[in-house]
């Protein structure tokens, strides 16, 4: 009962995250989805992943979302689908039906492996060492992405802006030239 309630609540939060008109509300509903997913993962026995999901999914990613929305602005758009609604709804219903038929028709036959499972640290560092290397590379690229998020350099001048800057400079040079010419004329007039 608890599991079913948590799953239902997670789905409600996920629907709200998609339906919310404001991006900030969407990010907060998503944080709720992450927190409820972490609880579900804990109840299914994945304690370590639950902790990481709670801290990274509900914490770090939410902070990044709020920061990005503050920087980019909460641009609320009409929720008008790019494809027609009927096509979207048809695809989603077909997808859910096929996934449901594929997954729910296979009932688990109890624990599949009678061999003692290795500890998580052995599983992570020995069996899936390559995954860890890939994760390090991913984290490095994520840091670079974060630098991109924080970068505040202006865009390079496009054609019209470059022409505007050139015209301003030309005007300034002409003004200076006129000043020099008038000074020369004054000097010539004052000469005996």
């Amino acid at each position: 009962m608890l599991l079913a309630s948590l799953v239902a609540l997670t789905l409600v939060f996920a629907i709200q995250a998609i339906r919310a008109r404001q991006l900030i509300s969407s990010a907060l509903w998503l944080a709720g989805v992450s927190a409820l997913s972490a609880t579900l993962l804990f109840l299914y026995g994945a304690q370590w992943v639950a902790i990481i999901e709670l801290s990274v999914g509900a914490g770090l990613v939410t902070v990044l979302f709020v920061f990005a929305i503050n920087v980019a602005g909460d641009e609320s758009l009409d929720r008008k689908a790019v494809p027609p609604w009927s096509v979207t709804a048809g695809f989603v219903i077909l997808f859910v039906f096929l996934m449901g038929w594929f997954l729910l028709s296979r009932t688990p036959q109890g624990p599949g492996s009678s061999v003692a499972e290795p500890a998580l640290q052995n599983e992570l560092w020995i069996s899936r060492g390559l995954d860890l290397i890939v994760q390090v590379v991913l984290i490095f690229s994520g840091v670079l992405g974060l630098l991109g998020l924080l970068a505040e350099t202006d865009a390079p001048l496009d054609g019209s802006m470059a022409a505007e800057v050139m015209a301003t400079r030309e005007l300034e040079m002409r003004t200076e030239l006129q000043g020099v010419e008038s000074q020369l004329l004054n000097v010539q007039e004052n000469e005996p």
Binding site: V7, T10, L11, A14, A17, I18, L23, S26, A27, V33, S34, L40, L41, Y44, G45, A46, W48, V49, E53, G57, L60, V61, L64, F65, A68, I69, V71, G73, L77, R79, V82, T88, V92, F95, V96, M99, L104, T107, P108, P111, G112, E117, P118, L120, E123, L124, S127, R128, V134, Q135, L138, I139, S141, G142, G145, L146, G148, L149, A151, A155
Partner: protein
């Protein structure tokens, strides 16, 4: 009616994948698309852990879910960085307006 915990997890997985898929199709805002992707990945993560638990290999499921969390976070960071920079340079987050970037 008594439903097995594995089947409850599968229903949650199907629901999350469906909602994420729907969000990907209807969203026009770049940041909203990242939110939809996050929901999709939550479904995949729950599926990995539930399958691991059902197969008696929860640690294998956990290690795979950990990889998914890292990849998902990096995708979110890169997506948001792209969104912020596109908003700064082009003044919009609407993917339909961005289609003017073609050729």
């Amino acid at each position: 009616m008594n439903i097995a915990p594995f089947n409850i997890a599968l229903m949650g997985v199907i629901g999350l994948l469906g909602i994420g898929f729907y969000g990907l199709m209807v969203s026009r805002n770049l940041i909203k698309i990242v939110v939809a992707l996050q929901i999709l990945v939550k479904g995949a993560m729950l599926a990995l852990v539930a399958a691991g638990q059902a197969a008696g290999q929860i640690n294998l499921g956990q290690s795979m879910a950990l990889t998914v969390i890292v990849a998902d976070t990096i995708v979110a960071v890169m997506g948001m960085a792209l969104g912020v920079q596109i908003r700064r340079r082009m003044g919009t987050l609407d993917v339909r307006d961005l289609s003017s970037m073609r050729g």
